[in-house]
């Protein structure tokens, strides 16, 4: 019997943590905002973008580093060079729900990023 409140507390804690995570993740549902990625200090930020499924969208990619990068995704059929200090707009097709990787093809040590369509 004394275990019940602990289980409830754990459930509430997990629910709260999950809600906080969902709210914290960059999401671009129907608010018209254009998702943005920034490359700086050897990585993309955010590393994960969440976008609405089955709806074309655009992504702004800014290169805040002092060397050119190549924003590329095999799954999304995208390949664009971003000169240092510049911002480009990448047109994306409507995506089926799932995860789509992107990376910097000029610097393979850069961690890959993820576009999550849901």
């Amino acid at each position: 019997m004394p275990r019940k409140p602990t289980v409830v507390k754990a459930f509430v804690l997990i629910l709260g943590a999950s809600t906080a995570l969902v709210l914290a993740a960059p999401s671009f549902a129907d608010d018209g905002a254009m998702p943005q990625l920034r490359f700086e200090r050897g990585s993309f930020a955010p590393a994960q973008l969440t976008v609405p499924a089955n709806k074309p969208f655009k992504v702004k990619v800014t290169n805040g580093s002092d060397a050119a990068i190549e924003f590329e995704s095999f799954e999304l059929h995208r390949e664009r060079v971003v000169p240092p200090g510049e911002t480009i707009t990448v047109h994306m097709p409507s995506l089926a729900p799932g995860n789509y990787q992107f990376f910097d093809d000029f610097h393979h040590q850069v961690p890959k990023g993820l576009i999550v369509s849901q």
Partner: protein
């Protein structure tokens, strides 16, 4: 002598066994190829499509391991980099299509494409200088058209 025979027999068994490892030689359905004059399409099909499209003509050695592993991996990587059969997907972002066209022109002009080892096994992929120039002109003209319509 017995050791040599045993080694050859082992190699034979190994050779037969590796043939059982599955290799992907799929040609997925065609989507949409780039808009190009018939002569350019013929050149692309002759010199590029075996690796950079879903119309791969799988050669006999792609059915024999270990060569089959190399061919399968090479085609998969080539399709990831540029797949003419999925051109429509690139074209939905005009700057990506322009980038691909610029790369085609550069790779053909530099002689990096088709690779020497592919040309060695496939004489039909060897382009005459005039054919090479025709491909470069087409890629550059298409690049300019995409850029001006963007």
């Amino acid at each position: 002598m017995r050791a040599v025979k045993a080694a050859l027999a082992s190699l034979g068994v190994l050779f037969i066994t590796i043939q059982l490892i599955p290799v992907s030689r799929a040609n997925p359905p065609e989507q949409n190829n780039p808009d190009a004059p018939a002569a350019i399409v013929r050149l692309l099909k002759r010199a590029c499509y075996d690796c950079h499209s879903n119309q791969t003509r799988w050669p006999w050695y792609s059915f024999v391991a270990p060569a089959s592993w190399l061919v399968s991996r090479h085609v998969a990587e080539a399709r990831r980099r540029l797949n003419f059969s999925e051109w429509e997907a690139y074209a939905s972002d005009p700057d990506t299509a322009a980038h691909k066209l610029a790369e085609i022109a550069d790779q053909v002009a530099s002689g990096k494409m088709a690779p020497w080892y592919y040309r060695a096994a496939h004489p039909e992929a060897r382009l005459k200088p005039t054919e090479r120039q025709a491909l470069i002109r087409w890629a550059r003209a298409s690049w300019a058209a995409v850029r001006s319509s963007d």
